[in-house]
Structures are given as structure tokens and as C-alpha cells.
């Protein structure tokens, strides 16, 4: 599998990563190299092997349901670019 330049622009847009036209070709080459590596791994016969959902063979750790986190809004918002009335302000988004 390999990606076209259009594919690369689309992926960049979905990922909110600015890729200039000048960078597009290089990005395409790099992504295609990764896909090529995946193709090589795909060539391995894995029939009959249950796919793993995680790299380690461990189970999910669980916690008891207790609301213990303190209100740290002031500390969190001290490093936010813009806040008002307790809200974080971001460039206007209406879908």
C-alpha cells in the first residue's frame, strides 16, 4: 500500500498538522516507508494467532468509585492562554 499526495494532505488535515506543499513530498516518502515496513510485517503468516490488543500481556487496573480529586481550576487555568468566567477560551468553533 502507498499513499498519494492527496492522501497525505487529507491525513494532515484530519490530524491538524500543518504540512506545507514543500514538505508534502518528503512526508509522502516517509509515510510510504512506514507503510512498506508494515507490508513486510504483514507477509508473516499469523493465521491461528489471536491478535493482541496491547503490547504487554497485562490486564486493566481498576479503581474504586470515589470522587476524591480536589478542585485545581486556578492552577490549571494559570497556564491557559485565555480564560473567562471559569471557561477556557478557544477560537470560535461552531460546527
Amino acid at each position: 500500500m502507498s499513499l498519494s499526495l492527496e492522501d497525505v494532505s487529507r491525513i494532515a488535515r484530519l490530524s491538524r498538522i500543518a504540512v506545507t506543499d514543500a514538505e508534502l513530498a518528503a512526508t509522502q516518502t516517509q509515510l510510504n516507508r512506514i507503510l512498506h515496513l508494515i507490508d513486510e510485517m504483514r507477509a508473516v503468516d499469523t493465521s491461528g494467532i489471536e491478535p493482541m490488543a496491547h503490547a504487554q500481556d497485562v490486564f486493566l487496573r481498576l479503581r474504586e468509585d470515589a470522587a476524591t480529586a480536589p478542585d485545581r481550576r486556578a492552577a490549571f487555568q494559570a497556564v491557559a492562554p485565555a480564560v473567562e468566567n471559569g471557561l477556557y477560551l478557544v477560537p470560535k468553533v461552531i460546527e
Binding site: 496491547h54 481550576r73 471557561l87 477556557y88 477560551l89 468553533v93 461552531i94
Partner: protein, 475 residues
């Protein structure tokens, strides 16, 4: 051409946990913006999610309640999209292996039962809220809701009318509130429905192209939105246009649906297993433990009410529409009232008054014991049914017991034969024609006179006794 409507639902239910699904911040509704957020909820780099056990408990409860398969190994995945109320840039959800698979819910539309199969139910986190009021051309973000546990319940596209869709949503609503995994507060967004609607010519096997109506938070809006959407789609096709797959919103002010995004700019969510969360493993013992805590479910309770109390199926279904109402009914019967009378009173005057006052049975000013006493006074002929209705009204307003009101207002039924006899004599003297008719074989002629006797006694005569006396006098 006849058209068939095809509907499937995705319902987001907020689970009733104290803390969030992956952090220990509170999930309580209505706090000041951003005061209930932990490092995980605002996605500080390096903050790691830790799963809330109670959210899993509730998913298992739901799975058991609908007879589904509980996947003993399920996987959390990242659903990638960018929106400021989702600060990580992805929502933690489940994709390939959800916690609950299959199951079914039975609905009833106009007396016809239908089984709606479920595809799956999976655990995920809620997003925050965007406030689009004017903040100097910017949007405000409140992340209190971010990370609230959701169980997304997905049905098969098996509903064929808005009536079925609404009945399914209501049945699901009553089930999740019944087992207590969701508080059911639709105004606060605890139960939100996405409805997939398509139409196809009757008899066609393939589905038509669907459009998804997002985020309906009332059954009334659901009805309006589906009706509008179905007409719109049929009209489009009949005028030769093709339906494009799209996500749409319902506007309650105009009663219309409008496009939110078309398929072209639809998200490509690029799901992949979340490396921060290894698989969720649910052992047999855990499922058994949850099973033991599961309350008696509505369907089982309906069957029991019919056999134990001898009430009709209709009564049993109505009385089990909420857990509170079912408990109220059982308390009234336990306090000595006849079951059918208790059912009539609860479904009749009590429900009517509650509806009028927009209250639920939990707020009823007349307790189960108080209602039972009133019914017992009808059963032992202290008052007749009509008087009892007035007594209930007074109980409702004053909080006094039935006995207090009967005593105070002198409502005790006249069982003194002598006193009623005098009234009966007077009524008969005034109605010679009715006596003629009765004697010539028209049995019912005297029934009309009972009302007059009742009136003459100021409502205190026992109607049965009045009829007996009338018959005795003329024969």
C-alpha cells in the same frame, strides 16, 4: 409508492457513578465551570487514565438485564477527532471488542409486542461542553462533563415506525433507570438519542441511505424529528433526488431537521487500541456477583404481579412502568388493600392527580399506607366508591387520614336500613312508572332509581343496599 421506514438507535446513557470513568473527579451536575476536572480530564501530558470499577459494574448490569453476552475480555480504543471540548484529541471508547454484545428489548405498540435486538453496548467517556455565547468572538470550554462515563447502547435497524422507535427509547429508558445505572435526567443530558433514519420502497431488501439525527433529549422531539425526516426523505426521492448520507440536527423551534455535516467531511476516526489501557478482563465471579445484586426486572415483575395478585396484564404492565410505582402498589396491597382495587386507584385517581401536578409517585402526598386505609374503608362499606374519590382529594390536600376525614365530614355510609327505607319509600312514591316497568319484567327499571336514593341520602347510602331495598319494596 408505499414506503417503509427503517430506524436504528444509538443511545448515550450517563452512568450513575460518583467519579469519572478514568479520573477521580466528581461527575455531579451543575458545578461551576471546570471545577470538577483532574489532570486526565484536561489531558495534561503524561496523565494516565485509571478505569472506574463501578462503570464496568453498571455495564455488566445492563448486559445481564437485556440477556446479552458479556465479553470477558474487552478493549478500549482511541476514536480520533479534533474538537476543543475533547482536549486529548481522541475519545476513549470501545470499537472491536465492546463490553456488551447482543441482547434484546421487547416493546409494545398498540398492544402488539415486538422484540428489538441490540447490536452492542460499549463504555466510553463523555466530552466537555462548548459555550458559544460571545466571548469576544471566542468559544468557552467547560470540561466538567469530560470523562463522565457513558454506556452507548446500539440497536439493530429493526424499528419500522416512529412509534416503534419512541417505544424502544422509552423501554430502554425505563430499564436503565429501573436497574439504576442512569438517573434518567434528560434535561441534564443523562439519556441522549441518535436516530438513524432511512426509507425504502416496501418489499425492497436493501436499506436506503440513512441520515443520522443527533442528540435528541426528549421523546417528543424524537417523534417530531423522525416524522419530519421521513417526509423529507420520501419527498426527496419522489422528486428524483438521491439521499446523501449525513449527520443532521433537529431544531425544536422550527420542527425541522438540518444538515450538520455531509459524508464528504465525515470524520475518519482512525480507531486503534489505546496503549494506555490494557484489555478489560471480567471474570465469571464478577458477573455472578453483579447478577446477585440485580433487582427483579420489569418483565419478571409483570408476570409475578399477574400470578401473585391476580391482576390483568394491562395493570401489571402499567404498574411496572417505574420501580417506584411498582413498590407503591406492593406497599398498598401489603397494608391490606385488595390488589385489583389498589391497581384501579393507583392507575386512576392517583396517577391522574400526579400527572396534573407534574409529580411522580415518589412525591405523592398520600402514602401507600394512607391509600390502603382509604381502600379498606371502601372494602368494609364504610364509604362508597364515589365518596372515596372525594376523600382522596381531601387527603391529598390536607394530609389527613381517610378515617379522620370520614369522621370529621360525616361521610360514613348510611347502613341504617330504617333511614334508607324512608328515602326509598319517597323515591318509589314519586316514580310509579318505574315500578310498573319493573313488575312487567324490565329488571333494569329500578337501577335508575338508585341514583335518586343516593341523592336523597346526600351520597351516604350504600348503592348495593339501596337497590336491594328497592327490589324488596316493589316485589
Amino acid at each position: 409508492m408505499k414506503w417503509e421506514v427503517v430506524i436504528g438507535l444509538e443511545v448515550h446513557t450517563q452512568l450513575t457513578t460518583q467519579s469519572k470513568i478514568f479520573s477521580s473527579a466528581s461527575t455531579a451536575f451543575g458545578a461551576a465551570p471546570n471545577t470538577q476536572t483532574a489532570v486526565v480530564d484536561i489531558a495534561l501530558p503524561g496523565a494516565l487514565p485509571v478505569m472506574n470499577k463501578a462503570a464496568v459494574d453498571k455495564a455488566i448490569q445492563f448486559g445481564l438485564a437485556i440477556g446479552a453476552k458479556i465479553n470477558q475480555k474487552s478493549v478500549f480504543a482511541r476514536k480520533n477527532y479534533f474538537y476543543p471540548d475533547l482536549p486529548k484529541g481522541y475519545q476513549i471508547s470501545q470499537f472491536e471488542l465492546p463490553v456488551v454484545e447482543g441482547g434484546a428489548i421487547t416493546i409494545n405498540v398498540d398492544g402488539v409486542e415486538k422484540v428489538i435486538n441490540l447490536t452492542r453496548a460499549h463504555l466510553e467517556e463523555d466530552a466537555g461542553k462548548s459555550v458559544h455565547e460571545d466571548f469576544h468572538g471566542m468559544s468557552g470550554i467547560d470540561l466538567n462533563r469530560a470523562g463522565t462515563p457513558l454506556l452507548e447502547i446500539v440497536s439493530e435497524p429493526e424499528m419500522r415506525s416512529w412509534q416503534e422507535a419512541v417505544a424502544y427509547a422509552k423501554a430502554l429508558y425505563s430499564l436503565v433507570t429501573w436497574i439504576g445505572i442512569c438517573d434518567g435526567n434528560m434535561q441534564e443530558g443523562s439519556f441522549r438519542c441518535d436516530v438513524n433514519v432511512s426509507v425504502r420502497p416496501e418489499g425492497q431488501k436493501e436499506f436506503g441511505t440513512r441520515r443520522e439525527i443527533k442528540n435528541l433529549n426528549s421523546f417528543k422531539f424524537m417523534e417530531q424529528a423522525i416524522k419530519y425526516e421521513v417526509n423529507w426523505q420520501i419527498n426527496e426521492i419522489e422528486e428524483g433526488r438521491k439521499i446523501q448520507q449525513a449527520t443532521i440536527l433537529f431544531d425544536p423551534d422550527t420542527g425541522e431537521t438540518r444538515m450538520m455535516r455531509s459524508k464528504e467531511d465525515a470524520h475518519d476516526y482512525r480507531y486503534f487500541p489505546d496503549p494506555d489501557l490494557p484489555p478489560l478482563v471480567i471474570a465469571d465471579e464478577w458477573i455472578e456477583r453483579v447478577k446477585a445484586t440485580l433487582p427483579e426486572l420489569p418483565v419478571a415483575m409483570q408476570a409475578r404481579f399477574q400470578s401473585q395478585y391476580g391482576i390483568p396484564a394491562y395493570d401489571a404492565t402499567t404498574l411496572t412502568s417505574s420501580k417506584e410505582m411498582a413498590a407503591f402498589f406492593e406497599a398498598v396491597v401489603a397494608a391490606g388493600a385488595d390488589a385489583k382495587l389498589a391497581s384501579n386507584w393507583i392507575m386512576g385517581d392517583v396517577s391522574a392527580t400526579l400527572n396534573r401536578e407534574e409529580k411522580t409517585i415518589a412525591d405523592s402526598p398520600v402514602s401507600a399506607d394512607a391509600l390502603a386505609l382509604l381502600i379498606k374503608r371502601v372494602m368494609d362499606n364504610t364509604i362508597n366508591n364515589k365518596t372515596a374519590k372525594d376523600v382522596l382529594k381531601k387527603m391529598w390536600e390536607s394530609g389527613d387520614s381517610a378515617d379522620t376525614i370520614i369522621e370529621r365530614d360525616g361521610l360514613k355510609q348510611e347502613t341504617d336500613t330504617g333511614a334508607i327505607e324512608a328515602i326509598v319509600d319517597a323515591v318509589l312514591a314519586a316514580n310509579p312508572k318505574a315500578i310498573e316497568e319493573y313488575r312487567s319484567g324490565k329488571e333494569k327499571a329500578l337501577n335508575a332509581l338508585v341514583g335518586q336514593v343516593m341523592k336523597g341520602s346526600g351520597g351516604k347510602a350504600n348503592p348495593g343496599m339501596a337497590l336491594e331495598l328497592l327490589k324488596k319494596k316493589v316485589s
